[in-house]
């Protein structure tokens, strides 16, 4: 049985490699907000209030482009709706927590933290302090996101654009799913999602980000039925 501290440290270590994408992305996110003419306090407050990378950038771009508040809020909602799926997966492992703890830990759930902690949970179902992994992974991502957006707000986008560090984003997610390519059912689901995302890329409100997972999960349900 691992101690709370050990599990917490494992959570931190699990997301550490993802800083290659999170930190440059945070810097760009902060810098874009200032470039678009928003006040530094407002741009930074989003990192605390919304705490969701891509959705923060889209939100500011829409507002500065003259879109209505309703459209901006809807887009954030659509982009972040995938967290409903993360929550549904994680609830299995967080069931025993008190209601207050559930409310607090939910705030820390983001893509990479969900992915890495979920992997740990699947392999260590019987540990008592499982949620400390999510505190470690989510907490690390939260702190790094705050620091990097703040750095971008104060210093501007000091990461040279020629480096193309945006490309680190798909790479970190490749690192997350790559072990599943040995399973045919997962490959089918991944390709369905990937192709759907290209097909629906121009759908309004960036909704490809939730449309393609829904299509892929329907295909997953079909695959499960065929497997029986």
């Amino acid at each position: 049985m691992l101690s709370k501290k050990q599990i917490f440290s494992k959570g931190i270590l699990a997301v550490a490699p993802h800083m290659f994408s999170v930190i440059p992305f945070g810097i760009v996110c902060g810098a874009i907000g200032i470039e678009l003419g928003f006040s530094p306090v407002l741009v930074y407050a989003m990192s605390i209030i919304i705490f969701g990378g891509a959705s923060q950038i889209v939100f500011l771009q829409l507002l500065s482009g003259g879109a209505s508040a309703l459209i901006a809020v809807t887009s954030v909602g659509v982009i972040n709706s995938r967290h409903l799926l993360y929550g549904a997966v994680l609830s299995e492992y967080l069931e025993k927590l008190s209601f207050i703890k559930k409310l607090l830990i939910s705030y820390l759930v983001v893509d990479q933290g969900f992915a890495e902690s979920n992997k740990f949970f699947q392999k260590n179902r019987n540990e008592t302090h499982l949620h400390y992994h999510l505190l470690g992974s989510g907490g690390t991502l939260w702190v790094c996101w705050q620091i990097s957006t703040l750095a971008g707000i104060i210093l501007g986008s000091f990461v040279p654009e020629e480096l193309g560090l945006k490309f680190a984003v798909p790479l970190t997610f490749i690192a997350i799913v790559v072990q599943d390519i040995k399973k045919l059912d997962h490959v089918i689901v991944m390709i369905t999602c990937g192709l759907s995302s290209l097909l629906f890329f121009d759908a309004p409100f960036k909704s490809y980000i939730i449309i393609s997972p829904i299509i892929a999960l329907f295909v997953a349900a079909l695959v499960l039925r065929l497997k029986k």
Partner: protein, 103 residues
């Protein structure tokens, strides 16, 4: 007004994170739904990966000889065999940089 909009967006985002963890009783999900949930990572992350590789900053498809495709293939191979997240990301970035800076 912008502040109000941000707070609403934040509340909505928080509810997306919290609802399934804290408000919905897990027993309400049927066995079939639970089985499908095992596919969530495979069903969600390619929607970030594919556009990140195949669609450029202007929202159009890249050419088939784009260095990102090469970088992604290297990352997949290194990731699959090394089982190491850092190696996957670094190998993808370096192979991408070698093409854009040296070739």
């Amino acid at each position: 007004m912008t502040w109000f909009t941000i707070i609403i967006a934040g509340i909505i985002t928080y509810f997306m994170r919290m609802t399934m963890v804290a408000l919905v009783d897990r027993d309400l999900l049927g066995e079939r739904v639970k089985a499908v949930l095992a596919y969530v990572p495979s069903a969600v992350f390619p929607a970030i990966i594919f556009p990140g590789i195949f669609i450029n900053d202007y929202g159009t498809f890249i050419e088939m000889n784009d260095p990102k495709i090469f970088g992604a293939i290297v990352a997949i191979l290194v990731g699959y065999f090394s089982r190491n997240v850092i190696a996957t990301i670094i190998s993808g970035l370096f192979s991408y940089w070698i093409i854009i800076f040296l070739l």
